[in-house]
Structure formats: structure tokens, C-alpha cells
């Protein structure tokens, strides 16, 4: 190889590498981190990116150089030199990638071990997923439809599912785990930034999958305690229309049903604005949704687990709320 061609191919490589680096830097690839775990994931991500940009630059330069330099005229019938291989080169491009992927593996394994380690005194929160809603149970047995976490406190989430597989993901936290029926999975998160985030279900779980979201808030310690107090007192209050509204929201009814008082307009299941039946019918339709099907809708879509997942009081409140919301009566 002549010196001129080495210079040229190096220039191509630098150009390709620079372009790739610009794409890496200018595009917002990752959400702004809000947890220690995401910080480490970011580190792994950029570590891998640097190596990959190098490989990309080499390949791109080789293709560009070959196409520009070795292109033959259409009527050129000559062949290239009969080079069948080069053992040294072949060893090099076996060994170097092996070393690079080993390096990425080691970094990844260390980061994984750190991200799995929750420390001595984690806050334990039980997460229950079902079509198409999330429920959170705090150590003092308070339950809520939104997740509130104190800042800088390692949290160990225990995930369960009542029906099919769901997946817990808050992009800013990085961590993700499926909630699988029949087994318990865990997830470690240490929030580092106060703010409001979205919890998304990332495993296709049925018709309401895209709307299976919940609000996540990271707050300081005092606000967290205040939240727990509020949630606990709300739980013990007598059942009323307000509670029904809360149950409607936390049970995820709005993910599939339109109901004007709650301001939802989803069309996966029948609208709840004009229910053709009394309170007993409404109750039956919630607990055993396949008993009577609305015209034009399939059975087997709505979960039949609400008699288990809702308390009697919550069910009463929800039935009351839906019944009160009927315009015609």
C-alpha cells in the first residue's frame, strides 16, 4: 500500500467518524437522566458508542475508498489480482473485535451488578399491573394509582401481574422489567431529579396497551410523607362520588371507555355515558364483563379480575359514580 492511499483512506475515515460523532452529539439520543441507574446506563451507552463509531468509520472509509479508487470502466474486462487471503490480517480482524466486545461486556456486567444492587435499606413498593392500569402499594399498605418516590432513596419495586405480561418503564429512570403473571420480578431505582414522569407499559398487553400509563413523581422527603398521609386518609373515608372518580381513574377504566364526567373518550370498549341498565347491571358488567356484551363488542377483552383487584367499597363507589353519570336517568 502506497503512502498516498494510506493518507486518503485515513481522511475518509476521519470524515466518516466526524459525521457519525456529530449525529451522536447533536441528536438527543437519551432522555435526561433522573436516576442513578440511568446515569450508569448512559455511561455504558456512550462507551459503546465511541467504539462503534470507530468501527463504522473504518468500514465506511473502506467502502468509500474502494468504490472511488477501484471502480472499473464498463468495458474494462480485466480482473483484479488473485489475492486469496492473508492469515495475519485475518487474525487481526478476528482478535480486535473480540477484544472490543469483551471490553463492552465487562463494562456492561459491572454496570448491571451495580444497577441490581439496592443497598441495605431500600424503600419497598409493590407494583400490581393489570389490563390496563397500574397500582402501587406503599410500605404502610397505602395504595395509589400514581407512583410517588422520595428523591435519593433507593427503591425496590416488586412487580406482579394479575392477567397477562406487562412491562414497567419510565424512560428517565432507564430501568425496565416485565410484570409476569405467576412470578414476582424486581426492579431497583434510585431517583435523583425532582419532577413528573410517565410510566409506560412496554409489553403489548391487549387493546388498551398504548394507554396503559401512570403518573410518576419524584418529590423531596417532606412531600413524600405528606403524600402518604393524604393517600392513607383518603382510603378510609366514606364512599362517595368523589371516590368513585378516583377509582375510575386508578383502575384504568378510561383507557378503554368513554365517560364524559371523567373526561375520557377512548373507544376500545363501549361508551359508559348511556348505560342501558340499573346499578346491579353495572356491577355485574364490571365483575363479570362477559356476562352481557354490548352490541358490536367482543367478549374476552375486558379483564374479569375486578372483583379481586377492587375492594367492596371501591366497587360500590365506582358503581355509584357510573350510575350518577347517566344523563338519561
Amino acid at each position: 500500500m502506497r503512502r498516498g492511499s494510506i493518507v486518503r483512506i485515513t481522511i475518509y475515515g476521519v470524515i466518516a467518524g466526524t459525521l457519525a460523532s456529530l449525529v451522536a452529539v447533536l441528536v438527543p439520543w437519551l432522555p435526561t437522566s433522573a436516576s442513578e441507574e440511568m446515569d450508569r446506563i448512559e455511561f455504558t451507552f456512550w462507551f459503546t458508542t465511541v467504539i462503534c463509531i470507530g468501527i463504522f468509520a473504518i468500514v465506511a472509509a473502506a467502502i468509500a475508498y474502494s468504490v472511488l479508487k477501484f471502480r472499473a470502466a464498463d468495458d474494462d474486462e480485466r480482473d483484479g489480482p488473485p489475492i486469496h487471503g492473508h492469515t495475519g490480517l485475518e487474525i487481526v480482524w478476528t482478535a480486535i473485535p473480540a477484544v472490543l466486545v469483551t471490553a463492552i461486556s465487562v463494562v456492561s456486567a459491572v454496570v448491571l451488578a451495580k444497577n441490581d444492587d439496592v443497598g441495605a435499606n431500600p424503600l419497598r413498593i409493590a407494583v400490581t399491573a393489570q389490563q390496563f392500569a397500574w397500582r402501587f402499594e406503599y410500605p404502610d399498605e397505602t395504595t395509589s394509582g400514581s407512583l410517588v418516590l422520595p428523591i435519593d432513596q433507593p427503591v425496590k419495586l416488586t412487580l406482579r401481574s394479575l392477567d397477562v405480561i406487562h412491562s414497567f418503564w419510565v424512560p428517565e429512570f432507564g430501568q425496565k422489567s416485565d410484570a409476569v403473571p405467576g412470578i414476582e420480578t424486581t426492579l431497583v431505582i434510585t431517583p435523583t431529579r425532582i419532577g413528573s414522569y410517565s410510566l409506560l407499559c412496554t409489553e403489548l398487553c391487549g387493546l388498551g396497551h398504548a394507554t396503559m400509563r401512570a403518573q410518576v413523581q419524584v418529590v423531596d422527603r417532606a412531600d413524600y410523607e405528606a403524600f402518604l398521609e393524604r393517600a392513607a386518609s383518603g382510603d378510609g373515608a366514606p364512599a362517595g362520588a368523589d371516590d368513585g372518580e378516583a377509582v375510575f381513574a386508578t383502575a384504568g377504566c378510561g383507557g378503554c371507555h368513554a365517560f364524559e364526567p371523567a373526561g375520557t373518550d377512548a373507544a376500545v370498549g363501549p361508551s359508559l355515558d348511556e348505560i342501558d341498565g340499573d346499578e346491579a347491571f353495572i356491577r355485574e358488567s364490571i365483575v363479570d364483563p362477559n356476562a352481557v356484551l354490548a352490541q358490536g363488542y367482543q367478549g374476552g377483552v375486558m379483564p374479569n379480575t375486578y372483583d379481586k383487584s377492587l375492594t367492596d367499597e371501591q366497587l360500590d363507589a365506582l358503581v355509584q359514580y357510573l350510575s350518577d353519570g347517566q344523563g338519561g336517568n
Binding site: S66, E77, G300
Partner: protein
């Protein structure tokens, strides 16, 4: 060996039987007979279900779910296959009647009608495969156009959620099981026997049967749209337990996979036997073209892995119709078991969809660079390396699934190591081009497009192999981007390269070079515009398989959708070019690319039995640059140069 090949050419040719007339046409193999046998078999299935349910006092006697599985999805297709004559020879043999002497009436094609019959000629079957698979490519692509239109803006505009989920599931199922896997089988069907110097595949009747299972599987997938509740809507992965309780359409996926899988397995067996036993004299394993090597390894993957997906789909269906409890958690089933079995097939399936493409690229790059493949033996060995490693990485699809935590690091390491044999292939192709005389014809453009895009797909694969990054990226659009860089930028580009490369050999006519290049550039631009932004859209927080998404991703999704329409439109040029050129393109010479492999040493299209005389292979397939070098000697010519000797000379 030699004698066996000889007999196929020139003896035992019985005179052709005249075509049947009148009522006899109802008994002769064909669509007329298929019409009544399909009905008959269906009625038999229906009666079977009704009779046994009546006998057992089950209510209702006619359970349509079971009738669907038994009568519509199992017996009616068998009736159709019987009717068109896929089983005739074996039926005669099994029933003890004298088998009819082979008159070769079902071999080769003289008119377009012959392509719609059971045909035992591997070249006809290859074309049948390709036309069928491209038909489903169009259908699957149109589905993508519909859901990309839906996704252009947040909220629902055109379709409801059930339809959306059905479309994404059908799109993937068709593209994987009815396009990429069988399109490679079609190209290999055409090329492999020719490249080996064989007159046909080892089992031509089995080969015909394998093909005819394919349209059945495809129509089964499509028919799911017609049943109450709509098409299967759980993604192509169809995870249990969600898939266990879906409307009836799910069963069409469970059963469609069986038909497509059976087709795959039988073809793979056929390739293995053909490659092992039907190589021309002198064609040692180390003289086989890399396309043959690639299909050898792919076929091994298919026969070992495909039964697992067949099993996984049967289990889900049994849970539904037989009340077994493989994956039903309430009854003691194990939900994660499905994923382990499914991915034990579906990860090797990625290589089933990639290795044949590697083979095509090796042919194209060597021929259009006019140089021998760099490191030929290591190229073949790296295929075998990928084959072995491919079975040890399945759980990298399950890093967030809740499986045993200890499995994650070992599976990460094996997944990373696969980058090594893959890297060897990439670098060897680059070295093959080095100092070559590169002709940028359309197949070569697609090969270069493949090289660059597949590198990007491979690199995003490294991100996904790393467990911490995968935990963040899993089930997001980053995955969608990765899979399309691998399966579109990888597999589909190689299929296009292969179709353009062998088009003159298959049709006897040249395609239009300018349209071919235009097709490439539009595809390349449309492809990158569609799939590249998905990387960051996913990492920032857009999950895959959602019909509705957060406002913040609206702009990028609009960009993606617009480019996807360009990508869709680019295939119109391809189809125009192919149809127009097949019809009235310039007549192709036998060897327009001046290639050395055997398929180019015969006329275009090749004679019915490929070679008038058994070729004698004298050297490796890629001896470009050695004056007078030949891969094989045909037509009784004297071996002009013992190229191996020259080759040794060149090495010194």
C-alpha cells in the same frame, strides 16, 4: 453417483400422457379436482368434529373454534394439496398400485400456465417461490403503509386499536414467514442445484410439496382478517398468556406457522441431502460456492430450530382448545416457558434470515470486484461459527422478561461473541473489494447498500447485547429500528441483490440497469429516512406496538411516515422493471457477468435438466485474476488449466 445422475437425464423417459378430457378432468390433478377434494376434506373434518362431540354429549355439537382448526386449517388445505396432485405419486406407491413411469410432464415450464401447477423442476419452483413471496411482500408492505399513516400523528385517525394491532402482527408474520425466509429458499432453490452441477434437487416431489404449503400458510394468515374479532393482534411474537385468550384470529397464526414451518423444514432437508450427495465430480466442500455453504448452514439451523416454534404455537393452541395448561398461570402453567421455547427458534431464525443473504453477497462481491473471495475458508467457517453460537444466545431477547437473573451475563457474552464471525465476514468482503475492478451494477449497489446498512444493524445489535443498555431499549422503537436495519437493510437488500443478479439466468432476459439503480437509490434513501430516526425516538421513550403515543414524538413520526411512503413507492419501480424486462427485455447471454460458478456456464435460462453432460469441477469457484482459470469443465472439453496449480503458483 455418476450413474444416478446419468439415469436422470437420458433413460426412463416415458412418453407424455395426453391431457384428459370431459369428466376425466375431475379426476386428473389440477384446480378442478382441488375444488371438490378441498370441499370433501373440509366436510370430513366437520363431520369428524360433530360426530365425536355428539358421541361425547358435548354442547354445542358444532363448536366453530374446533371446526376452524380441524376442518378449515388442517383438512381443507390437505384436500387442496391432494387435489392439485402434490401427493399423487406417493399415493400410488403407498396404495400398492403401479407407480406411473416418470414422463417428466410435471418437469420444466413451457408456458406461464406451468407455473401454476405442481412442478418438480427446481428452477420452476424457485420462480414460483419468488413470485409468491413477492406477492406477500407487497401485501405486508401495504399493511405497513396503513399503520404508518396511522402513526404519522398522535391519537387514532384511520384505524381502531384492534385493527392496528392486527396490522402490525400481520405485517411481521407475512414479512418473516412468507417473504424473507421463503424468498431465500426460492433463490437457493433456483441456484443451488445449478451451482452444484446437479440436474435437480435430491427430492423433486418433496420440493414441489414444500412450495405448495407456502401459499396455504399465507392465505391462512390473511384469512384471519375475515373471522369475528379480527386478525391475530398480539405481535408476531404472540406471547402467552395474552395469546391464549384472544379472539379466533389467533388460531390462524398458530396454524399458519405450522404450514410455513413444515415448508421450511422439508426444503431444508432437501437442501442438505442435495448438497451432501449431489455435488458434481470434483466439487469438494472446499470448492463449493459460498452461497451453497450459506444454504447448508441455514438448512441445519432450520431443521434443528423450526420444530421449537411449531411446538410453541401448538402449546398455545392446545391451551385454548384442549384445555391443557402449558402457559395458563391460574392452572399451574409457566408464562415464561413460552418465551424460552419461542426464542430458541426465533433467535436462530434471525440467522435463517441472514446467512443465505451472506451467501448472495459473497457471490455478487466476488463477481463484480473481479477478485477471489478473501479468506474463503474462514468465510465458510464463520458461517459454521454463527450456526453454533446462534443456539446459545436466545435469552438476550428476555433480559427484562423476569427470567433467572444469572442467565443474563452469559447470554450477553455469547451474543457479543457473535459479532466476531460476523465481523470476519464484513472485513473479508471489504478486502475482496480491495484492489479489485469494481463494476457498480445494480446487484453490486445492493450488496454495498447491504454492507453499510448491515454494519449499522450489527452495531445497534452490540448496544442491545449489553444488558444495561438493553434494559432501557427493550420493547421500544430502538428495537424496531434494529430489526429493520438487520432484516431490511440486511436481508431484503440481499434478496434484491440476488433477484437482480440471477434475473438474466431465471428469465433469459436482462433487466433495465437504469431503473435498477434508481430503485436502489430510492430504497436506500427511503429506508434510512424511515428507520434511522426510530433509534432515538425509541430511546427517548416511545414503546413499540402502540397505536397512540406521546405528543413529543409527533414530528419525528411524521418524518418516518413520509420516508416510509417513499420506501413503499420505490418498490413500484422494481416491479415495473421486473415485469417489463421479463416480458420484453433484451435477450440475456449465458454469462452476462463473466462469472465462474456453474450456473453461468449454461444457457439462460438453463436447459430443463440443467447440464447436457455432467460437469467436472477442477478448482475453487472464485479464481478471478488467474488467466484461463476455470471452476469447472463442461461439454467434454479438456481441462485447459489446472487452476489449483496456478493458484499454488500465485500463492508463492
Amino acid at each position: 453417483m455418476t450413474e444416478l445422475v446419468h439415469s436422470a437425464y437420458d433413460s426412463h423417459h416415458a412418453p407424455a400422457v395426453p391431457p384428459p378430457r370431459g369428466l376425466a378432468r375431475l379426476r386428473a390433478p389440477g384446480y378442478l379436482r382441488a375444488a371438490w377434494t378441498t370441499l370433501l376434506f373440509w366436510a370430513f373434518g366437520f363431520g369428524l368434529v360433530a360426530f365425536f362431540r355428539w358421541l361425547a354429549h358435548y354442547d354445542p355439537v358444532v363448536d366453530w373454534t374446533i371446526v376452524t382448526v380441524v376442518a378449515f386449517l388442517t383438512l381443507a388445505p390437505l384436500g387442496f394439496l391432494t387435489g392439485i396432485g402434490a401427493f399423487d405419486y406417493w399415493a400410488y406407491y403407498v396404495s400398492g398400485r403401479p407407480t406411473r413411469p416418470e414422463d417428466h410432464s410435471s418437469h420444466g415450464a413451457t408456458s406461464w400456465k406451468d407455473y401454476f401447477r405442481v412442478n418438480t423442476d427446481h428452477k420452476v419452483i424457485g420462480v414460483q417461490y419468488l413470485v409468491t413471496t413477492f406477492f406477500f411482500f407487497v401485501i405486508g408492505g401495504l399493511m405497513a403503509m396503513i399503520f404508518r399513516a396511522e402513526l404519522a400523528k398522535p391519537d387514532l385517525q384511520f384505524v381502531d386499536t384492534q385493527t392496528f394491532n392486527g396490522l402490525i402482527s400481520e405485517h411481521a408474520a407475512l414479512m418473516i414467514f412468507l417473504f424473507i425466509i421463503p424468498a431465500f429458499a426460492g433463490l437457493a432453490n433456483f441456484a443451488v442445484p445449478l451451482m452444484l452441477g446437479a440436474p435437480d434437487m435430491a427430492f423433486p416431489r418433496l420440493n414441489a410439496l414444500s412450495f405448495w404449503l407456502l401459499p396455504i400458510a399465507g392465505l391462512m394468515f390473511l384469512a384471519a382478517f375475515l373471522v369475528p374479532g379480527g386478525a391475530f393482534a398480539t405481535g408476531w411474537t404472540s406471547y402467552a398468556p395474552l395469546a391464549s385468550d384472544q379472539p379466533l384470529g389467533q388460531v390462524f397464526f398458530n396454524m399458519g406457522v405450522q404450514w410455513a414451518g413444515a415448508s421450511s423444514i422439508m426444503t431444508a432437508l432437501n437442501f442438505l441431502v442435495t448438497i451432501i450427495t449431489m455435488r458434481a465430480p470434483g466439487m469438494t466442500f472446499w470448492r463449493m460456492p459460498l452461497l451453497v455453504w450459506a444454504n447448508f448452514t441455514t438448512s441445519l439451523l432450520v431443521v434443528i430450530a423450526t420444530p421449537f416454534i411449531a411446538g410453541s404455537q401448538f402449546f398455545v393452541m392446545f391451551d385454548r382448545i384442549m384445555h391443557t395448561n402449558f402457559f395458563r398461570v391460574d392452572e399451574g402453567g409457566y408464562a415464561l416457558g413460552y418465551q424460552h421455547i419461542f426464542w430458541f427458534y426465533s433467535h436462530p431464525a434471525v440467522y435463517i434470515m441472514m446467512l443465505p443473504g451472506f451467501g448472495i453477497i459473497s457471490e455478487v462481491i466476488a463477481v463484480f470486484s473481479r477478485k477471489p473471495i478473501f479468506g474463503y475458508r474462514l468465510m465458510a467457517l464463520s458461517l459454521m461459527g454463527i450456526l453454533v453460537l446462534g443456539f446459545s444466545v436466545w435469552a438476550h431477547h428476555m433480559f427484562v422478561a423476569g427470567m433467572a437473573p444469572w442467565l443474563r451475563v452469559p447470554m450477553m457474552v455469547t451474543s457479543m461473541i457473535i459479532a466476531v464471525p460476523t465481523g470476519i465476514k464484513i472485513f473479508s468482503w471489504l478486502a475482496t473489494m480491495w484492489e479489485g475492478r469494481i463494476h457498480l451494477r445494480t446487484p453490486m449497489l445492493f450488496a454495498l447498500g447491504f454492507l453499510s446498512m448491515f454494519v449499522l444493524g450489527g452495531l445497534s445489535g452490540i448496544f442491545l447485547a449489553s444488558v444495561p443498555i438493553d434494559i432501557a431499549a427493550s420493547d421500544t422503537y430502538f428495537i424496531v429500528a434494529h430489526i429493520h436495519y438487520v432484516l431490511f437493510g440486511g436481508s431484503v437488500f440481499t434478496i434484491f441483490a440476488g433477484v437482480y443478479y440471477w434475473f438474466p439466468k431465471m428469465t433469459g432476459r436482462m433487466y433495465n440497469e437504469r431503473l435498477g439503480k434508481l430503485h436502489f437509490w430510492l430504497t436506500f434513501i427511503g429506508f434510512n429516512g424511515t428507520f434511522f430516526p426510530m433509534h432515538w425516538v425509541g430511546l427517548q421513550g416511545m414503546p413499540r406496538r402502540v397505536s397512540d403515543y406521546s405528543e413529543q414524538f409527533g414530528n419525528w413520526n411524521m418524518v418516518v411516515s413520509l420516508f416510509s411512503f417513499l420506501l413503499g413507492a420505490s418498490t413500484i419501480i422494481f416491479f415495473y422493471n421486473v415485469i417489463q424486462s421479463w416480458h420484453r427485455g433484451p435477450i440475456a447471454p449465458g454469462n452476462p457477468w463473466r462469472a465462474l460458478t456453474l450456473e453461468w456456464q449454461v444457457s439462460s435460462p438453463p436447459p430443463v435438466f440443467n447440464f447436457d453432460e455432467i460437469p467436472q469441477v477442477v478448482a475453487g469457484p472464485y479464481e478471478y485474476g488467474i488467466p484461463g482459470a476455470r471452476h469447472a469443465v463442461l461439454n467434454g472439453g479438456h481441462a485447459p488449466v489446472v487452476a489449483d496449480a496456478v493458484h499454488e503458483e500465485a500463492r508463492r
